[in-house]
Every structure is written in structure tokens, then in C-alpha cells.
Symmetry: C2
Subunit: 205 residues, 2 copies
Amino acid sequence: MRSSHAADQIRHFRRHEHLARKEEVQDKVFRIEEGWACRYCLLADGRRQITALFLPGDYCEPQWLLAGRSDLPVIALTEVKVTEMPLAGIHAKPGDGVMKLLAGVVKTLNRQTDWIVSLGRKSATERVGSLLSELYARLREINRVMGDRCTIPLTQQDIADIVGLTPVHVNRVLGDLRQRGLVQFSGKTLVVPHPEELSMVAAAA
Amino acid sequence: MRSSHAADQIRHFRRHEHLARKEEVQDKVFRIEEGWACRYCLLADGRRQITALFLPGDYCEPQWLLAGRSDLPVIALTEVKVTEMPLAGIHAKPGDGVMKLLAGVVKTLNRQTDWIVSLGRKSATERVGSLLSELYARLREINRVMGDRCTIPLTQQDIADIVGLTPVHVNRVLGDLRQRGLVQFSGKTLVVPHPEELSMVAAAA
DNA sequence: CGGATCCTTGAGTGGGCTCAAAATTAGTGG
DNA sequence: CCACTAATTTTGAGCCCACTCAAGGATCCG
């Protein structure tokens, strides 16, 4: 059974185009069909922190159902194709759809909790290791890992804004992980020969 | 109208007693009546990161309604008095109670987003400033600020585990804020003479 | 083929860490 | 209420991880 119905609209965004602005009324939720997007916060002096990543299959942002508005801006990291799910339609037909969105909220919450642990208590290498490990696992869940190979369409600047480091240091850490044979990461292609070894350096609980 | 009903039970926890263990089935949600508690994550080598704070009036943890289980342990930071809200009762009588819990999930989510920004992109002084600013505001909402004075029952070790620093450095930062006249913080009593000035050093968006 | 974006590397600096010990406060049992 | 112990706060000295500044190379795209 398809969870989408007649009212749902397909929509495209170009790279760096906003899916939502800061503190904006939202009368719909997106489901990402293709491409990556992120929620971010821009401080007064230009520092940027990415606070959520949206990959194909993810809802963006399920909590708009409850809040009716966005808190932080959401921007496309690549070309993005989404399905628009009008909140009116969801409210009118409660049931399965609502539960899926609420499950999405909880998933987002748990991912953010992990990020807090990472940012608060892990070293640079552990943070980057955690991130690549998480992304590899998420891509695997949606069948985007071929063999031990997948596509991570993030610039090193993007990665820096996720793990709270400078792009220069991210570059050095990636070089280090590469040299230790834990990952190969050239262009946008990530290869993880031994996922278990990578999650070892990610310093799990 | 009281949102609690006959099935709700009052319960007490001593300081350092667990309200929930890691990955445990939960058939109830707590509402904090008195005292402070926190969710935390313990890494293999002993590093601790606090990922949520629960103050009087907060639900702990509303997402258990949706997940049916706890992900991370929750521990009492002080003596704590809670109301137990059985999930069975909530499911049986959906409506207002459910909505309040869902609003609680969104509130938790937004607070965690702010913490990510703080941990990822702010300096030590900004992080401590943000935290004190947030706590002052939350305590004010629940009428726990008398004049410009309130009680923060956290040790400097606790604060360190929230803002991702060492207790030694937290001590130095607090000393600095005190010297600059932004806060007075001795014993467990926090005084904020000029809340606006404090939120200035917190580096808002 | 030209321009912009992104990646890489080097050299030097500094914010927050570690280690250590003393001073203060809080907690406990007699 | 006091003595004793444990927990917490404070301060000093020195170090290191990640940052800044800077320049050159690679890659992408029109």
C-alpha cells in the first residue's frame, strides 16, 4: 500500500535552495525521495552548525506536524526531489500516516542525542569516525551501499559544520583515517572495507 | 482541570538514583514535581555526556509513549518527586494528555538542537553562558526565580558534563563570568543581575 | 579554456586539557 | 553538636589538540 495519496505533490529543489526558512509557518511535511538536505543554525558572526541531515526516505521535518512552523532553516545539500505531504490531509485522515511521522520525530530526537554525545565528549577522529559510520549504516538501510561502496555528497566544509571542527582539520582527520586503511574517501565516494573497525574508532557507549 | 487522574502515583527518588536504566522497557512516563534529573550517556572509557535536563513541570521522557522503551539512563541529580503516568491509561483516554506529551517531545527536541549548536560552535564561555541563561529562563517560567536569584543544584562536574568541558575549566569560566559581574554563583545559588547581558555572551543566532 | 569551488599541506598559535595539590564545603555517625 | 570523612571547589604549571593564516594544487562546470 502506498502511503502517499492524490493530494501529495512531487517537488524539486536545486543545491543550496531552501526547503524552509527560519521560523516560517509550515502547512506541509516533506518526504525526501532523492538527494540530501540539512537543518542548520547560523550564528551572528557567521559560524554554522548543521543540526540534522535528511536522506532519501526521511521525513523533513515531522515535528512541523505538531508545531505548525519551522524553527531553523532547511537547505538542499544536493539536487533534491521531495513529496509534499499537506498537513491538512494528514489531520483529516489520522492513523497510520500520523504514527509514521511521530516515529520520525523520535528517530530525529535519538540521532540528535547521539550527536550531542559526539560533540560533547569525542575527539576529532572519533567524531568523524562516528559520522561516517552513521552515514554508512543509514545508507545501507535504504539500499544505497553497493558492496562496501556508497556516495556521500558532503563537502569537507559540510562535514566540519556537522562535527564542529574546521574544514582544515577535517581534511587532516580524513587523511589519517585513510592512511590507517579505515576508509577510502575520494571525490564523493566512500569505501568502508571493515565497518566494525570503523565503528571501533567511533568510541561507542 | 487536573491532567492527572486516579491511576497516577506519586513516587520519590534519592539523589543518584536511577529513574530509568539504559534500554529498558517503559510502561509509564514521569512528570517531575520537585527536583532535577538528567539523561546521560556513558562512554566505554568513562567519559560522561548529559543529553537532557528535567526540571519541575517537565515530562520525563515523553517519547517513551511512542517508543515504549528508554534509550539512555535517567538519573536524579537531587531528591526528586515525580508523578507516574501509566501509558496504558494514556492510550485508553487519548486526547489532551497525548497532545501535551507530544508537545513535550518537540520541546525536548528543540532544546537538544540548541545544545548541538552550543557544543559544536561555541567557545567555553559562550557555552556556560548559554546554559546559565537557559536555566535561568526555564526556572523563571516555573516561578522559581525570586528577584534575580534562583537555585541551580548542579555541581561543576555536572555542568562540565552538559557543556562538554572539564570541571577544572568550568571553574575558571565561572570565575571569569563572576569577575565580569555577569553572574554570582556560590553554593547552589545563582544570581543574574542583568539577564540581557548574560545572553549577550551566550552568542545567540 | 577560464573561473570558482574544493582539497591539501605547512608553520605557528592558543584555548582548553592534564596533572597535582590545597582549601572549602557537605555529609555522616557518634 | 562535634569530629571525621568524603565530595566539591579553587588555583598553579605545563602541554597538546585543534585552530588560524596562508598558499598551492586539483576538480568541477559553464
